[in-house]
Symmetry: C2
Subunit: 454 residues, 2 copies
Amino acid sequence: MSYIEQLIEILSKEQVSTNPTMLEQHSHDEGYHASSLPDVVVFPKTKDEVSKVVAFANEQKVPVVPFGLGTSLEGHVIPYNGGISLDLSLMNQILDVRNSDFLVKVQPGVTRSQLNKELKKYGLFFSVDPGADATLGGMAATNASGTTSVKYGIMRDQVRDLEVVLASGEIIHTGGMSAKSSSGYHLNGLMVGSEGTLGVITELTLRVYGIPESIMAARATFPDVQAAVDAVTTILTSGVPIARIELVDDRSIHQVNTYNELQYEEKPTLFLEFHGNEAGLAQDVEFTKEIVTDLGCSDIQFESDTKAQTQLWEVRHNLAYSFIHGFPGKKMMVTDVSLPLTELAGAILDARKAMDAVQLDGALLGHVGDGNYHALLMIDMNNVNEVQKAKEVNEHIVSYALQRGGTCTGEHGVGIGKSAYQQREHGPAYEVMKAIKLALDPNGILNPGKIFVD
Amino acid sequence: MSYIEQLIEILSKEQVSTNPTMLEQHSHDEGYHASSLPDVVVFPKTKDEVSKVVAFANEQKVPVVPFGLGTSLEGHVIPYNGGISLDLSLMNQILDVRNSDFLVKVQPGVTRSQLNKELKKYGLFFSVDPGADATLGGMAATNASGTTSVKYGIMRDQVRDLEVVLASGEIIHTGGMSAKSSSGYHLNGLMVGSEGTLGVITELTLRVYGIPESIMAARATFPDVQAAVDAVTTILTSGVPIARIELVDDRSIHQVNTYNELQYEEKPTLFLEFHGNEAGLAQDVEFTKEIVTDLGCSDIQFESDTKAQTQLWEVRHNLAYSFIHGFPGKKMMVTDVSLPLTELAGAILDARKAMDAVQLDGALLGHVGDGNYHALLMIDMNNVNEVQKAKEVNEHIVSYALQRGGTCTGEHGVGIGKSAYQQREHGPAYEVMKAIKLALDPNGILNPGKIFVD
């Protein structure tokens, strides 16, 4: 009996698929990395089913690659060694909303928009907002973040407890429901960002927040990127309750104007959002005006109205689309370094130069409060020369960041795309990571080939 | 040649002590646990010296117990297996203030007040404030927190990078200078709270914050503990920027009144602090008044003046002293559970009942925003019966918390005092922790007997 037939015995016929379309859907993510087919896709419905599948795979030494919605960018879910694609989309229930504890318990297949729809009923929201409507299991696995982490933190900051199936099939809990704990090793933190290489997440207990009383949005243009970043530093020092602060460079604003028939000033631009109470925000508006004016800001617009705020943010959200629209037939490769704040302006300018030097175009935008920025490079994947150039730009951007105390990936994770930089970034700590991997997954069945270069 | 003579060869005569007074000073912490002498105390001055000492100890299989200022409460620094007490007090330099990056680099022997004195020059502060003026190395080792974590987070949230000497003597860095990263396993989080059992911290890169523009303090009395906790939940839901929110029970206020000749209303009392801007805080004051009045608050006082704020907080700070003063000859045993917010009121009331039932007196106070509370039990350490009762109350308090999704220690750490509860709290995850310990410290030389029950 083949191992796939055995999987049918463990689960059921309906939960095990070798349908070519299904295999193809589980052979890639949303990034630029080469695809690779799993042998089989399985759809467990409970933690016990996950446990049985993983324990069986461990005995058989068959790779297991957890799969949420496949929105990752660095090849995390691509089964390069074949084996089982463990699709968690049937485990998509919101199990418990403990609103007075600011906690929710969810299954890994729940998406962030699904959760926020439910939380709204309680005046609560979940803060982490990556570009895609990813699953919460996937977001925990990659330690995702987005535009709000400057105020609310990243995915790791929201995780109170994970139920995890280990390589052996054993089920553990990595934390509890308390807001803080000094009890034992921080397995929550270790599992978040481990990208399915240490275990399969089957349940998450997450922190949620009260929807702020008032929201103020703003758009401000600056003479140069350095002035924009300096404004961010001053605003952060002052303690103004910034909830979002996004930087878009002048070239990128030009693209948005061109493809949306808009007339925004084509200068480095900050998109901001403040969360607080009405009186406090009014004072913040005045203070922020002063700061940015001192730093040469030529135009700042505040919006307190929800509709006008949506319009303001649309410019930022349309950025990627404006480039995709402007470069038909090309694909987008996204870099993701993060640096100390004082190094960010230099990094962004250097990235634009590096792109110009090899005549690759694309957007440059940053989650400035975190020192994290993305170059969205437009490349023709069939043009070997262009793909090579893009890889060189990525390599250049990563090297620049690593030389200045930064990281090769701020929020997308390692997957296959950043594994080559792990040794360089972490030095001897890389061996510690390997030792942990070996201790928890001695047969190397969990998402093999990810994070570590074999 | 004895191993102590060899240590003199590795370091210098002045850095190696077997002076009985010195050994005694390194035989206990500030808790109630039995003392135990190290064989020797060493005072390294550099990471390389730490590395040499640890590598040597590993070869010789001699225990190494890192020591900061000895302010821990659960016996973390007590060398129950003898060996080397590694005193890091000579490594007490603030190495770098990167004010525009909101980062500082410090040696492990720097205390939090020493750091805050330096940061004040830049308009910055370090947020974590445990009761003692502990070293930052010790605070990272135990994942300390205090009154401000409801807004600024716990010690683990402030750590960007640690330089750590492993059992082998190898020196690693666990993170970087970027505000966020999804690169590799979260070794920062793993090392924070590992209590010297996985490595010795020789340098810390920490996050710091801008001093808030305005601070408002308040004191509010409630008919019962439940009403006080309900007020906290409502305030947190509303998004009011609470920076501190401490609960003290009625019995404890009575003690403060008695020993400080004060006339505060002897009811459950909240001490609050808000950080923000002036206009925002004015609105928060009105809003908070409404909330607490609705919940039966009989008296609320706000203080915007610094001197009046100090006076207000003195009541809270004098609590422990008022009990020590009131029970001459007795020692204080401190419990430290943390629970989901909705379970906190019940837990505090139950703890008071448990104390009354065995006729043990003491304070009850909570970092309510985190669900963390302490019972400060006054006990005669020479009275075997009373010590036994205190242990039973602690056991009762821990069991109550663990049954409700809480943790046996919110901020003090495990040490020897909470090791017996690790298996119960973590279940099979306890074995994962053990596997990590074994992978990183195969000879078990690093702070043996702590966290894990051998």
